[in-house]
Amino acid sequence: MGRKLLTEHINVAGIRNLDVYRTQGGYETLKKALGMKPEEIVEEVKKSGLRGRGGAGFPTGMKWGFLAKPEGVARYLVCNADESEPGTFKDRYMMEFLPHLLIEGMAIGSFALGCRTSYIYIRGELMYVYHILQDAIDEAYKAGLLGKNILGSGFDFDLHLHCGGGAYICGEETALIESLEGKRGNPRIKPPFPAIKGVWGCPTVVNNVESIMAVVPIIRDGGEAYAAIGIGKSTGTKLISACGHLKKPGVYEIDLGLPVEEFIYSDEYCGGIRNDKKLKAVVAGGSSVPILPTELILKTANGEPRLMSYESLANGGFASGTMLGSGGFIAMDEDTSIVKNLYTFTRFYHHESCGQCSPCREGTGWMEKVLHKILDGHGTLADVDLLWDIQAKIEGKTICPLGDAAAWPVASAIRHFRADFEEYVRNPQNIIKDHHYYRVNNLVAS
């Protein structure tokens, strides 16, 4: 069983309430942090090797170090709780059950960065979690853990919630900042980076929920202790949202470096594939990352066991590897239509494109139409090449990473499953009836 740095107390009855959270050592780390120098806290986070848990994997301590600190200008820490990458549901789970861990992390991070006011931007659909967080924030204010002079330290700190309105793009940090300003979620051109010019033109750090929560055990135990967990530059633990055709889907906290095969098949984690079918493919880090067939997700092209780490999953580049991303782990059994699954992803990116950049705005819709044509049995082999061509003309040509995120699933599906596309083209009569997806009728009695 891996270490539980974030989820250790998640099953304690009433842990959502402040009193219970405090019986488990809650806010002791905030007390410790307030006795440290802000730069010492940043240093510990740097030493921990923590990398952004939202998907990009950028070192959190380095991001904190970039924050500009001009005299007399407010600066902000904004928590990105706009979790909407398909396959990812860890942040929702953590906020629902451990709201105070996020608040404690926000207070520590804000103290370290010199922010007097910070925001949690939560996606609007999670309104019930918004109310859970608001209750927890109210409790924290009453107990003197937020507000004026917290814990007698002289540090004044306000924490506010802000809800989105249903737009995947607002998970991109500059779109999130626009949305926090009450505008459409159109990503900004960088530079300037948010660390220099973020919300309301002020220096801003945007961090994922899990990253901010991880700061608590890092400050509690020290950066070096955190860095001792994991493998290589993939330090610490990671929350994995496991879904698709698994026997035991759910959120798992793993030590980075766990073999993928163990994660999928051991009873401690996902317990294997539903109905004891064979595994066909995995999308290991949320819908944006390249899909891999079974042989490449379990082992690298060199035959090494594939591990749940930033480096091992990326081993082989996009030719034979993928990315850890957000940790949204989607498993597909042998009956799955890769083409139809891809269609749902492409439709998603088309729906969520903000429309600023033409390669993304036009390209995502075009790919959706071509895939629809193939699924309908009217595709040609030239259409498969056309898809390849379109995705190649989106990748790297947009303001924000949504373009790449839309291109990579298409490229990887064609790269590894070209035969599936060709089967639709050559023998549509065999396949188009139900696209081989899991029938919900099987679930009626359950």
């Binding site: 990812t88 549901f89 506010h160 009450g182 459409r184 698709g244 959120v251 992803f345 439709r347 009728n441």
Partner: protein, 181 residues
Amino acid sequence: MSDSKIIKFSDDALALVERMKGRYPEGKQKSALLPILHLAQAEFGGWLSAPVMDYVATLLNIQSIEVYEVASFYSMFNLKPVGKCVVEVCRTGPCWLMGAEDIVKYMEKKLGVKEGGTSADGMFTLKTVECLASCGTAPMMQIGETYHENLTLQKVDDILDTCKRDVHEPISHWRKNKIKA
């Protein structure tokens, strides 16, 4: 536009609007637009009419167009009248893998509507939405603020029956009776 004179939040809702505005620095009150639009949608029948959006603009001292362009960008805001219960079924990959398409087809038949339509009795609007971060408990749908997970056709029947029995006025993501900041 003249309708906007009769559109007004309750005193409780107005107090909440003030608290929401107070969360942002002086002069940056436009930031409260998204939360206030959620509140407006809950207070005024589950959708945002042009007069309602004009009213929101006056509360924040911004132009109406600044409200329209935001309301039309975000998928949670309904710009046309909807049924008392907006049933939002997730259709993205992980839910599709677990049979979301069957759920949608079943409800289309049961409610006698196509995706996007409202049932003849005005009770249900059937909407498909993109990933709601509930992939481990797929297939799923949301009604108001409630997530209904691990759906089966039987569960869908039960949920819709409960709605028919218990829901008498439009419900929204922001619960109308949940007036607090």
